[in-house]
Symmetry: C2
Subunit: 236 residues, 2 copies
Amino acid sequence: MTNTNTLYQHGTLALLVPGLLDGTITMQDLLKHGDTGIGTGEGLDGELIILDGIPYQVDSDGNVNIVKDDFTLPFANSHFANYQSLTNVENISQKELDKKIISMTSSNTFFSIKVHGTFTNIKTRAVPKSHKPYATLGKTAEDQSVFSKDSVEGTLLSYYAPQIFDGAAVGGFHHHFLSDKHDFGGHVLSFTVESGKVEIQQFDTLEQHLPTKNTDYMNYDFSDWDILGEIHKAES
Amino acid sequence: MTNTNTLYQHGTLALLVPGLLDGTITMQDLLKHGDTGIGTGEGLDGELIILDGIPYQVDSDGNVNIVKDDFTLPFANSHFANYQSLTNVENISQKELDKKIISMTSSNTFFSIKVHGTFTNIKTRAVPKSHKPYATLGKTAEDQSVFSKDSVEGTLLSYYAPQIFDGAAVGGFHHHFLSDKHDFGGHVLSFTVESGKVEIQQFDTLEQHLPTKNTDYMNYDFSDWDILGEIHKAES
């Protein structure tokens, strides 16, 4: 029996900041913890979204690829889907949607949101893969590709983390997107939902796995960094 | 087969700050996740330490009691013991010990430390149980009882959390103590180790469980609080 109350996380958002970008979990292992998820590849190689057990990568050219079992990631989330209907929305901005969802549920636990519908003015981003020695998150983000669509049907997959977990996870919402035609997606910067069906899945457990076999991670001195400041710059 | 790579945590340190002190896990359930651990009772009812599967409570009178299965806790850690020898120490202060341990292992993952030996100038504290409506952590801490011993043999049980998890857990070290005679212990404020054997157990996973069935927790608005500031005041 799969556990639908647990959100699995490999790595932390914090480790991306100084560029600890080795892939430390394989897609095969990540999929053992869920059929739904998000992440990024080694060296920030694209933005990943897992739907119904299939791992899609949006690369820095905007192409959508299905990645193989041995694809590796420095940071990822996954869980076994068991969404409940929350609400239907029309002509709602990202900000208003986030607010509406928070008003309908608790902001003190982890949850996932799935919105299927028509999205307008949607902007996403992906960054080109970097190689060792990896650049910092701030440096890499400068080279990001931004993609946009006036109107597209697809799925928004989001994770919400309580503020006290900011830095380990993304405090608040973290949105990824994939179009129904599998020709557009990535880490979401902004959007409007023209019409969509919003589903929610609440978790009571975060299973936080750390890359303890990666010596670069284990030996790194994070104390010189304003980790939260860097994250908020790069993830906004 | 028990999992000795996982540290289980129920609740967060943050929820203690505004006084969300309902017991939301039973000792029976906590012991399913480990034979070793620490915690506090409902209403901050004493300081708990679990050794070899036996849960001891140091109450605000300084008595050491074994608690029953139905004893409840708002915040606790537990894990299955599999310690490895790290070092032997003599005449070392708490600060020097913390520093020595960090120099011998990674500060980027969770681990537990167990020190058995003779402790001098050890100070511990426990607070009296409060009842609903609970006081805040700061208010309750004002009423704490402080206990001290010039010299005592016993076990120091500590958990270490990477700084990025500060607030969810105690960033850095969190020390509890129990004397071999079971007549002294609690949350540790300061100590010197006269001579002791230091063991370590490193984890690769934090299983963070949140009290999602507790409506007071789920509905609480944490945004008015300087959670980290309050924690650092109360836990120092």
